[in-house]
Symmetry: D4
Subunit: 217 residues, 8 copies
């Protein structure tokens, strides 16, 4: 497995990451990591590799766009000195264009998205050992759906930056697509965005597999 | 994997199984399976084998002893017609002897425990394809601790019945013991009984491994 | 307009009709008609035709399928002696097949749907002056979406019964489709089922237009 | 219709406008426009003219008099850059003179009312395309009732300013009077001020008709 | 004063009498008499004539009409064995005709009102020393207002029965009219029905004066 | 009556005056004067002398001693410009010496009490037409009870200052003593300090009688 | 100490005994014995004589008089089979005569008190090893206070029955009197009835001393 | 007894001391001392030595380590001018090392613990008459348990400082060990840290015995 002894792994993102985590700290006793994929990842790491002492921190905040991440990057990421950093952002950047189409100052268009995401990745590289970029997703099987189409474009941006900046890439959309062959979106997420336990497990499995987690251990 | 298409898997037990599940039904949308090991098992089944359409039901009830299970067996198990049945019971049978030592009518001693557990297993065999027996546990590494010692005796009863009645056995105590080599009990369960996310993952992993879950799928 | 002086108009259906109406009565002061399309219809009737004294009653109940309507038909419809009766049902009949695919006893398949809907319509005709049938809908523009496809089939059943039994038909799906040409589903209903104020206005307008409401009055 | 593509329409006023809107923003998802006439106007605009993309904002605040509006005019109106602005104010200016007759500093007498209303209209004209002035109202059919009499005087001031400053005028009192011929006040507003759904629909219809809304579209 | 040592005085009526009294008993410690005119009457009796030991009971129930009083007369009045009985009923009998004009089964028209009120008075006379009849009222100064006009008719019925059956009559409408010469209705009751402290004091003073209360004692 | 047209009467004191009044203002609609003697005084003034337009303000604050009054005198009294001012303070000054005997910095001994009370009276005289001083009280009939004894001493101080500074004096202890001849303390105040409705009426009657209220009007 | 191994000690009484105990059982984990003297007695027994395994049960119910105890004697005492039984009752029997002097059916006068208390004691003797009778009390130092005087009479009845029926007597009034020499009632109980922690400790100490508790152990 | 007339005794510590005390003051009426050992100590002092007028203050704060005590020492201890000071700290210093092993900045290791505890003791000696040091404890009978072992080491530090700085020492671990011979931990504290009433009584008895409390008084 890629994670090493005593490393600190920080997750940041929007409501899919947040999941009612403890605030402001985002770690500690009593379900401080929330009830989403971050907690599942942590639980598998602790139960399978208790000897490594991996420290997981959740800094997700509901409603955030990449613009919001940038605004709190120094305090919530750089000051935390993580060894590993996982970023999943972009759903709200796209969603507001569809559920609030006339409130344009809430939209984060793709140019700003790319520029800002690249900036926070580059700012982090000098001090972080490894950065993981998870694409945003939309739990909609129809590729021609307007919002799915746009989400795929944002996903492509994440892929591009991951390649250029040498990050680990996790294609969450691909992971959901596989399940959507057999399950209708409503069985995974009531609004095609906020996953239920099954959906968060899709994300957690994708993350754990990407970092070489040994399920047989 | 041992579970087959369209099968129904019912879990029953005490608060470790219950975990705030929906009542009375114990299945459905909006986290109806609670937030413990049952939900984790279901989420891995649905996300990995969506084509099988496994139906998971949670009938755990906080505070139950085997005596309580027996009282609701017809309604909560037999009438549900499960294909698979998983039972984890015994923690309260033991615990009351230690936290309320003078209220003796709340204690379920080992003879009653064995007799009652055997009875509900035997009553279920004619209509259930496969029964899984999970031992009760106590997240205490010291084998000479009085409550751990007694819990181990109840675990032995479960093992004995599993052998005699041809059930799948899951030794949850052994699963926790492995983690306790590196983590102190307080990092898994505040009262050595109610697991946090890490502890529930220990249980879920043990269950999934026992039924031949394919992590690599 | 088709409604005449002193007539009583009763709406029945699921959560789209219910909208937090007063229970059990479903009429009276202080927003007793709920906050959905029923309230909008009533408000336009009262404000535009105050001289007619139309009495509107809301008997929607969240989560209902046609099976549930049938079970409460005597008490909630026939005993109320309405002059007009409007029925919109079927969304949950379909939805459970998609969000809880493995809990089959919650599914109401199309044969049962047709048979039951016809039965309650026929039982009502002797005492009700006019029956309005509103199709169920799914706020999804992609006609090949599995759930939209199925909802359209249920809508066809409604259309068929309306023709055979001489009811007024309101094609709510068609009404939403018109708006979906310019607005993405997320701007009308967060889960493509429960409309926001805009969505309920689509329904109310369709109803009022169908009964010959005179907007210019 | 008078409103054009991509225009922003801002409503401001007292509790009749506020109706539990989201604060501080007054727009967005989840019934952010409140549950009064503003929401009805918006819902009809979005459902009938989705292609126009009209953006509606609600800046009503319960208890406000024209003096309060003036105090927050820069922040809540001018800084918002609306294309259209609708003002309905004056009920509390009058009401406090009747329900708290001895607390005189809460009364806004007619000279101050006229002067202040004219000032905020004039301040807005350079940047707003169109201003709508809605008269205050009192849902009391007796024209000799003291409070109705005074409210009519304030209404006359609104009419005068609308003429002088070239605003669209909506005579809400006249709209209510028409309904009061057939309905007693208690059927529209429990305290003759706060309308129920029927009453808010009277206001919304008056507004929509004034801006040339095409009901037949 | 007319009340004598150790007598029990029972008040019955609608929400104006109820005022959040303790239920079911309507007497005892901790503001059990509610916060309306009944409590004021009691407080003046106890503080001025503590030596008499008058026992006051409040059996008002919000929303009641004379029809409701009749239904609970045996249990709530006759079984209580009061020496004095004060009845104020009729506001809801009239009000429902104006705020819910189309829900006719909630209306209690004047013939039923008269017949029922006479019946409960006659049933009580054999065992009650003295009956007080308080007219219903409407805090509206305009005698030609439709609801005031109707309330006056119901008041006349009360006056007629008081004369025929030899009860003490209290004309509450007259008492309010006197105050309304100087105060607008909104300063006494927000909805012209439910009095504030000033309004309840009008009622209490009328009652106390009618029974010969000695203010100078 | 001593109060004249358009005068403002301000009450200040501790929890007996406060009685859950609106804060910070202490006047206005919806029981803003609280539910104690201040509200009763106001209700009798408004219902009997509506033509005078007396404005009553309640500035009582629970737990206050004379030391606390002094600290907020400028803001809560002088800045309010009352015509009449009524002060009742001292219960907590004494009580803390008995219920918290060892927390001495909470005690206000009689020298400080006298000095401070005189100071706030003298500061108010230049701008206030008339000051009313109500003694503190203890609803305990035994004059040798230690706390009653001390309260009587504080009452004497009030009497002395009233004489010297030409204030109206109201001896509340004497008013209660009269009732205590027939009623046990528990029937007036559960803790011998906080009066029930009967007890507050004793205070209100004493106040109204002192200012020449005409009960026969 | 008088209590012996494995004995069950049941307390019954009014709110002073109840103190928010768990209901209906009155024993078990999580402060099930309430927060009054019963809990203190239990805590000292368990912490000092853990080897005895004394089982303490609290069956106090707020507001009870001896009449209420009698009504639930079979179920709440005899069916529980206690070895020891402690009764403290009478405060409400007396109090209602003083705080609700005119509601006479709530008063339990001394003859009924004596007769009923003797009856429940005699009914219990055949099956209970030892009965403890605790007198009712009133935390008022003045022996001539009317309620204290009456409480002392009820206390004498308890003393008499204890002598006749061979019960252990605890004079709680005497225990409080000793403390009242130095502390004013308000420092022990806000209403002279419901003790604070200090007051409950007075009761617990009196009980423990009476049963020969060895503080030095 | 060692405490003398009018002395002030201040307790400080973590959640075991805090027990829901009033904040910020930590003294006064209505259970301001919380519901743990501090309240028991106070209740025994007041009920047994009311003539001494001992003033007890509780400054415990949940979650505190010695590092937190140091940060608030000036304000919460020195500025309070206590005559006696009792410190019980260290449980969280140790616990975080076991329940959050990877969040190292929350751990207070033994060197920092000793240094800081000595510093606050030394800073207090010039103004405090007597300092009591209570060891931290862990309600676990197995001396080889890792957390018990570490807690014992911290307890040794307390003992050492008590000797060097001439403080009264209370070995709370020894007090619990005595009870643990007969009771299992679960009967005293659900998590082996937070005592129930029995456990707090163990602490209170140890404290009272150490200061020479005379139980026979």
């Amino acid at each position: 497995m890629l994670l090493e002894k005593d490393q600190k792994l920080l997750f940041i993102g929007d409501s899919v990451t947040d999941c009612d985590r403890a605030k402001p700290e985002g770690e500690g006793v009593f379900q401080a990591l929330g009830n989403g994929y971050v907690s599942i990842v942590d639980a598998f790491l602790q139960s399978t590799y208790p000897e490594l002492g991996i420290r997981v921190v959740n800094k997700g905040t509901s409603g955030n766009t990449v613009r919001d991440l940038h605004a709190r990057w120094q305090e919530d990421v750089l000051d935390q000195n993580p060894d590993w950093l996982s970023i999943m952002i972009g759903i709200n950047d796209v969603w507001r264009q569809f559920d609030s189409p006339f409130i344009k100052h809430q939209h984060v268009y793709i140019e700003e998205y790319e520029e800002t995401l690249r900036k926070i990745v580059q700012e982090s590289k000098p001090t972080v050992n490894q950065i993981v970029l998870m694409t945003p997703f939309y739990i909609e099987p129809n590729e021609e759906d307007l919002m799915r189409e746009k989400m795929d474009q944002y996903g492509k941006v994440v892929e591009k930056i991951a390649n250029e900046e040498d990050c680990l890439l996790i294609n969450t959309q691909a992971a959901f697509n596989k399940v959507l062959k057999n399950l209708y979106p409503a069985a995974i997420a009531w609004d095609r965005v906020h996953p239920n336990a099954t959906g968060h497990t899709v994300l957690a499995k994708a993350f754990l597999n990407r970092i070489g987690f040994n399920w047989a251990k």
